[in-house]
Symmetry: C2
Subunit: 339 residues, 2 copies
Amino acid sequence: MSQINRQIQLASRPTGEPSVDNFKLVELPLPELAEGQVLVRNHYLSLDPYMRGRMNEGKSYAQPQPLDQVMIGGTAGEVVASRNDYFKVGDKVVGMGGWQEYQLVSAEQRGALQKVDTTHIPLSAYLGAVGMPGVTAWYGLVKIINPKAGETVVVSAASGAVGGAVGQLAKVRGARAVGLAGGPEKCRQVVEELGFDACIDYKQHRDLKSLSAALKAECPNGIDGYFENVGGMILDAVLLRANAFSRVAMCGMISGYNGEPIPMQYPQLILTNRMKIEGFIVSEHMDIWPEALKELGTLVATKKLKYRETVAEGIAAAPEAFLGLLKGKNFGKQLVKLI
Amino acid sequence: MSQINRQIQLASRPTGEPSVDNFKLVELPLPELAEGQVLVRNHYLSLDPYMRGRMNEGKSYAQPQPLDQVMIGGTAGEVVASRNDYFKVGDKVVGMGGWQEYQLVSAEQRGALQKVDTTHIPLSAYLGAVGMPGVTAWYGLVKIINPKAGETVVVSAASGAVGGAVGQLAKVRGARAVGLAGGPEKCRQVVEELGFDACIDYKQHRDLKSLSAALKAECPNGIDGYFENVGGMILDAVLLRANAFSRVAMCGMISGYNGEPIPMQYPQLILTNRMKIEGFIVSEHMDIWPEALKELGTLVATKKLKYRETVAEGIAAAPEAFLGLLKGKNFGKQLVKLI
């Protein structure tokens, strides 16, 4: 076992678009284990759009990522040393280990590590379809959109880890699932691999009128539910096709993460269509995780819920992979494989 | 009894701001009563902002007002002739009689007329605090905002028939009520007569920063609930002061009724504050009317719910009074007294 832990820290806050210079790679010695502590070797690091928000100083729903400290992030790994009765060497675990190779967890950090069963579900899936992104999809779809059979659900960033699950969960409930993604390759995958009914390449539509017409074509009965990951023109176009009593689960607005203005052009449609728009953060709804994970785990184990992974290799590759994620270069869940 | 019924019809659809020329006064002979029919002499006509939307042809939640037909509207009056066992001459009734002096109701129009008790509640109040505006306030406040004691509720158009009730219902529930109204006289009335904790004169604030600062001063603990009647800059300013898990009941957006663009500048705040925004039309929630009317009727009869009325005289005055309502010239409920 290496005596060095390599980690990525936030070196500076971005102005507008972030760059690799905002990050730094730091090497630290591995600490000695105190009584009750567990040392985890992280096999996978999860990269997620929310991390972009944490890099800013401004008011958001969470504390900003501190400078000169390890970047926050979900991890999946294996216990490599333990002075804790509950965790044994060899246990597979998930947690919020951050962008680093090793993670030391103390006994008093109750709930910081969860043991997982990799018999039927790959370890990496606990960072995706059977983890935070999957539960995010589940919460917005089930608890906010709550589609009835025959309704139409639209999801932006449909080829992403969250969006891909949203459409498939909608299909399970008998709804029509229409995705929005960037580029023909992603759209093909969303339809052919993930089983959506249709996917619109938003890059083919440079103005609201064009995108709105494309939505009309793929959603002939209008839109009953929308799962929002992007914001901006896509949200405007969806609102123009929204049905009475439609629901919007607002999960992310990546188009504005670098400070771009993303006004909603016609908020009066919320009224005329008697819509409900709800913003949420899945970590504030821990009560639904067991129910969500039960469905997601079953669907993944039985191969009814499909997902893709884009895997970068080695901790040093994390910043570049993260910047790629923000630009939509990934297919499905963006991971960094550390071992 | 006059043998003539005078009514206001929609003569043409407005382009932008409506004018008196969009209306015309028409005289019609009173019809003979057929078996089962009731003739009502309307004492009061209700003027409400939603009528502006009906004047347009475009898609909205309701059918447009047809041209060359009597303008839609709520009325309160008295049965003056009846060939129907349920209604007696002298009964006080409310209905959707339209902008006219007399209203003929057939037996098959079940529910078109409701008898009301004017022992403790004035007839006109059934068009305001104990009618559609009151129930509108009740639905948005109770069913969407649902304030807890100690929370802060903001309402725009606070001196209007709906807004005035919203703040008082919030106070009944132990919340802080802060209004927005146009001009010092209205603001004084909202605080001194209606009992709001504070009222901001939005006309004193020409930009978002200034209005947002005023809201901060009057809502030191942020905003937990917002009842929207106006839209535009006021909505933007409220969102900037909204607390986590705040709720917006979207009832009207009068600032955009003439087609002005009213973009929402920072929709990302819905996400970062995990807000819920819900549009509604009270006529689609008939199930809650009994509960709402019970509370509203009790509060009005015991003089705990205050309201003001602005009364125009005679059917010919209706168009001018309606245009004044759209410009905020009224105090409280805008009525036309017909007798």
